[in-house]
C-alpha cells in the first residue's frame, strides 16, 4: 500500500525518507523556498518553505513526510508569514531589482512576486557591502546575499574546494571567501564550479554577461516561479 499525506487537502504520495517539499515537488505542488535545492542536503534556514503539520509550524525541507500527515501550505496565514520573511530579506541587503542583472532570473524576486509582495514594508538597512571583482571570470556582489548557503554547500560538497563560508552570528552573519586576502581572485574558484551555478539571487555572477538576455526572455518572464519550480529546481 502506497504512503500518502494530505497537502492543502490534496493527497500526496511519497516514498519513505522523502521530505514534505520533495514529495510535494514530485507531485507538482509548489512550496516557496530559497535555501532548499534538491541536489543538496537541506539547510532549513530561510524558513520560506514553512508549513503547518498537524497544526504546528515546521520547515518542509527538513521534515520527513509521514503517513497521514495533514499539511497546510498555501494558506493566507502562512503566505503572510512568508511574505514578511521575504520583505525582511529585501531590507537586510541591497536588492535594487531595477538595475540588477539577475532581474527576471532571480528566485528571490520571483518568490516576492509569487507571494504578492507589493513593498519592502520594513525600513531598509542599506548595509555597505563592496563588490568583490578580483576574480577574472566571476563577480561577487554581496549586496544581494540572502545567506542561503547554497554556494557554501556546493563548493564544499560537490567542488571539494570550500571557497565560501558563512561567518558571524545572528544579524551579523555574512558570506566570506576562504582566502587570506578574503578575495575570490586568490582562491581556486572556477566558472565551471557547481558553486558558480547555484546562487538563487544575484551574488555570484559571470562577468561581462549583464543584460545579454533581453527582457521577456528571462526564466521568470516566461512563467511564474510556481510553474517553473518543481522538486525544488
Amino acid at each position: 500500500m502506497s504512503l500518502t499525506f494530505t497537502l492543502d487537502g490534496k493527497t500526496i504520495p511519497f516514498e519513505d525518507g522523502q521530505t514534505i517539499i520533495q514529495a510535494a515537488g514530485k507531485a507538482g505542488v509548489f512550496i516557496p523556498h530559497l535555501c532548499y535545492h534538491p541536489e543538496f542536503k537541506p539547510h532549513g534556514s530561510c524558513k520560506l518553505c514553512t508549513v503547518k503539520v498537524n497544526g504546528r509550524h515546521t520547515a518542509s525541507c527538513t521534515m520527513r513526510a509521514m503517513p497521514g500527515m495533514v499539511v497546510e501550505s498555501d494558506t493566507e496565514e502562512i503566505n503572510a508569514e512568508r511574505r514578511a520573511l521575504t520583505q525582511m530579506l529585501f531590507v537586510e541587503g541591497n536588492h535594487f531589482c531595477p538595475s540588477c542583472e539577475k532581474s527576471g532570473n532571480c528566485q528571490l524576486q520571483a518568490t516576492a512576486y509569487h507571494l504578492g509582495m507589493m513593498s519592502p514594508h520594513y525600513d531598509h538597512f542599506f548595509p555597505n557591502r563592496p563588490v568583490d571583482a578580483s576574480h577574472p571570470e566571476v563577480l561577487l556582489d554581496f549586496n544581494r546575499c540572502i545567506l542561503c548557503s547554497l554556494c557554501v554547500r556546493a563548493s564544499r560538497d560537490v567542488d571539494g574546494k570550500n571557497v565560501f563560508a558563512l561567518s558571524g552570528r545572528g544579524i551579523k552573519t555574512h558570506l566570506i571567501v576562504n582566502a587570506r586576502s578574503g578575495q575570490l581572485g586568490d582562491t581556486d574558484f572556477a566558472l565551471a564550479d557547481k558553486a558558480a551555478q547555484v546562487c538563487p539571487v544575484g551574488v555570484i555572477l559571470r562577468k561581462r554577461q549583464g543584460f545579454a538576455v533581453p527582457i521577456g526572455e528571462r526564466k521568470y518572464d516566461k512563467a511564474p516561479i510556481a510553474e517553473t519550480v518543481t522538486e525544488g529546481k
Binding site: 542583472e101 571583482a133 563577480l139 562577468k207 533581453p214
Partner: protein
C-alpha cells in the same frame, strides 16, 4: 552679456519671491526673484535643488550594469542615458564599430525616443500655453483643455507619443527603462511581426509630424512680436553633427558656433570633450555651469537642444524635415535665431525628421539580423555622447582592470542649458514682472521660458492642473505679504 541679475548687490534689503517647486518630475527646480520696494527686479535664479549623486554611487559597480542603472536618472528620456552609457562602454570593450544591425537598432530606439519625448513636450506640456495664451484661464491651460478645444491635435499628440513608446518597447524590451543596448551592441533584434506592426502606423506618424510643424510655424509666425522676442538672449550654441555635417541625434562630432553663427570648433572627436568644455560650480545650485574653455566662463556658455541642432547642421537627410529646416532658416533671415520660443518650432522639425528616419529604418532588413555584438581590445576609459531630446549628453567613464567603474562624469542636456535658462527667465522677469503684483499668469511666463528648453524642469505644470506651485512674497523681515498656491 552675462551675469546680469544673477546676484543682487544688497540682497538683504530685497523681497524674495520663490517658485518652489517649478516642477515635480526630474529633480526639483526652484526660481527665486528678488525685488525692491518699487518691484524692480534685482536677482533671478533658476536653482536645481535636488542632488542626484549618480556619478558617485556607480563607482565600484561593474561596468556592464551601468547602461541600465544610469538611465534611472530620467523617466522621460532614459533611452538617452542608456545609449550614451552604452556608447562609452563600447569604447571600453573595444567595439570600435558596431555591426550594422546593432547600430540601426540603437538608432531606431533613439529616434523613437526623440519622437515620443518631443511629442510629449510639445503637445502635453507646452501646447496649452501656445494655443490658449500664457496667462489664459488656468483651469483649461492643460492637456485636457487642449483635448476639449482641439480634440484632433490632442489625439495626434497622444498617438505620436504612443508610437514612439512602442518603438522603444520593441527595441529595448520595455517602454521605460529597458535593456536593449549592451556594451558592444544590442541584445535583441526585431521580429518580423514587431516591424510590421510599426510599419502599419508610420505613414500616419510622418503626416501628423508634418501637421505639427505646420501648427507651430503658424502659431509662431502669427505673433512674431511675442515669439521672436520672448525671453531672448544671444549665446553660442553647440551640438553633435553627423560626419557629413547633417543633423544626427545618435553619432557624430561636436560643433560649436558663436552667436553670429561663426564656427568656434568643428569636427571635434567627443572623446576629447574635456579639452574644450569646462564645468563651473556656483554655490547656489547643484547644477554645474559648463562653458567653452577657449572663450572663458563669462562668455563661453552656450545653448543646446533643437534650436542649436537645427541651426548647427548643414542639412537634414530626410526630405520633409529638410524642407521645413530651410523655411525656418529663411524665416530667421540668414542669421541664427536665438528666441527661446523658436525651440518649439525646431523641436517639431526634429520630430518630423525622427519620424522619417524611423520610416526608412523600418524598411531595412538589417533590423531583423541577429549579428548584434562585436568586441575588441579592452580599454580603460571611454566617452559616449548623444543628442538627447533636449540637448547634448556626455557620459564619461573610467574602468579598472577588474571591470569596476572608478570614475564617472555626466554632463546632461539640462546642465548644458543651465546658464541659457537662467538668462531666459531673467529676461522674462525684467520684461513682465517689473513693478507688478505677482499673479499666476505672470509666474507662468517664467515657466513658459523654462519649458521651452527642458521638460525635465518644466514638466508637470499642466498635469491636469495639479502642478504643486507655491509663491510667497515676503517683506524685509521675512513676513508673508502675499502668497499664491496651486496644488
Amino acid at each position: 552679456m552675462t551675469y546680469q541679475l544673477e546676484t543682487a548687490q544688497h540682497p538683504i534689503s530685497l523681497r524674495r519671491v520663490a517658485i518652489d517647486p517649478v516642477s515635480r518630475v526630474e529633480g526639483h527646480g526652484k526660481v527665486t526673484i528678488l525685488l525692491d520696494d518699487q518691484n524692480k527686479v534685482h536677482q533671478v535664479r533658476l536653482h536645481i535643488v535636488e542632488f542626484r549623486g549618480f556619478e558617485k554611487f556607480i563607482q565600484g559597480r561593474p561596468y556592464w550594469e551601468v547602461p541600465v542603472m544610469v538611465q534611472r536618472l530620467c523617466g522621460i528620456c532614459p533611452v538617452s542615458h542608456h545609449l550614451a552609457a552604452s556608447k562609452a562602454l563600447d569604447v571600453i570593450v573595444g567595439a570600435k564599430k558596431l555591426t550594422p544591425a546593432a547600430e540601426k537598432l540603437r538608432r531606431l530606439m533613439h529616434y523613437g525616443q526623440m519622437l515620443q519625448s518631443h511629442a510629449l513636450h510639445f503637445f502635453h506640456l507646452c501646447s496649452p500655453d501656445l494655443l490658449f495664451g500664457f496667462d489664459s484661464d488656468v483651469t483649461r491651460r492643460n492637456i485636457v483643455g487642449v483635448a476639449l478645444a482641439h480634440p484632433e491635435i490632442a489625439k495626434q499628440g497622444v498617438l505620436l507619443r504612443k508610437f514612439g513608446q512602442e518603438v522603444i518597447r520593441v527595441t529595448a524590451g520595455k517602454r521605460v527603462h529597458g535593456t536593449g543596448a549592451v556594451p558592444g551592441g544590442m541584445n535583441k533584434s526585431l521580429t518580423v511581426a514587431e516591424r510590421d506592426e510599426l510599419l502599419k502606423d508610420i505613414y500616419h506618424i510622418v503626416q501628423w509630424s508634418r501637421d505639427a510643424v505646420s501648427l507651430i510655424q503658424k502659431v509662431h509666425t502669427q505673433d512674431p512680436g511675442l515669439y521672436n522676442s520672448f525671453g531672448i538672449f544671444r549665446s553660442n550654441f553647440m551640438s553633435l553633427v553627423g560626419h557629413n555635417g547633417d543633423l544626427d541625434f545618435y553619432h557624430g562630432t561636436l560643433r560649436a558656433r558663436d552667436d553670429n553663427g561663426k564656427l568656434i570648433f568643428d569636427h571635434l572627436d567627443y572623446q576629447n570633450y574635456n579639452q574644450v568644455i569646462e564645468e563651473e560650480v556656483r554655490p547656489w545650485s547643484y547644477m554645474k555651469f559648463p562653458y567653452i574653455r577657449a572663450i572663458g566662463k563669462e562668455h563661453g556658455w552656450y545653448k543646446v537642444g533643437p534650436l542649436a541642432r537645427v541651426q548647427n547642421c548643414k542639412q537634414i537627410s530626410t526630405p520633409f524635415a529638410e524642407r521645413e529646416r530651410k523655411e525656418f532658416v529663411d524665416y530667421a533671415g540668414g542669421t541664427p535665431m536665438h528666441a527661446p520660443l523658436a525651440y518649439h518650432w525646431t523641436r517639431m522639425i526634429e520630430m518630423l525628421h525622427a519620424a522619417e528616419v524611423i520610416k526608412e529604418l523600418l524598411h531595412d532588413d538589417d533590423l531583423l539580423s541577429d549579428d548584434l555584438m562585436v568586441e575588441g581590445e579592452r580599454q580603460m576609459e571611454g566617452v559616449g555622447v548623444i543628442e538627447a531630446p533636449r540637448g547634448t549628453l556626455f557620459h564619461h567613464y573610467q574602468v579598472d582592470e577588474n571591470d569596476v567603474i572608478t570614475m564617472a562624469n555626466l554632463i546632461v542636456s539640462t546642465t548644458n542649458n543651465n546658464q541659457a535658462m537662467n538668462e531666459a527667465i531673467r529676461h522674462v522677469a525684467r520684461r513682465y514682472l517689473h513693478g507688478r503684483e505677482v499673479t499666476e499668469g505672470l509666474l507662468n511666463h517664467i515657466e513658459v521660458a523654462i519649458r521651452a528648453f527642458d521638460p525635465c524642469l518644466s514638466c508637470a505644470t499642466h498635469a491636469l492642473g495639479k502642478m504643486p506651485l507655491e509663491v510667497e512674497l515676503l517683506d524685509v523681515e521675512g513676513n508673508r505679504v502675499h502668497s499664491l498656491s496651486r496644488s
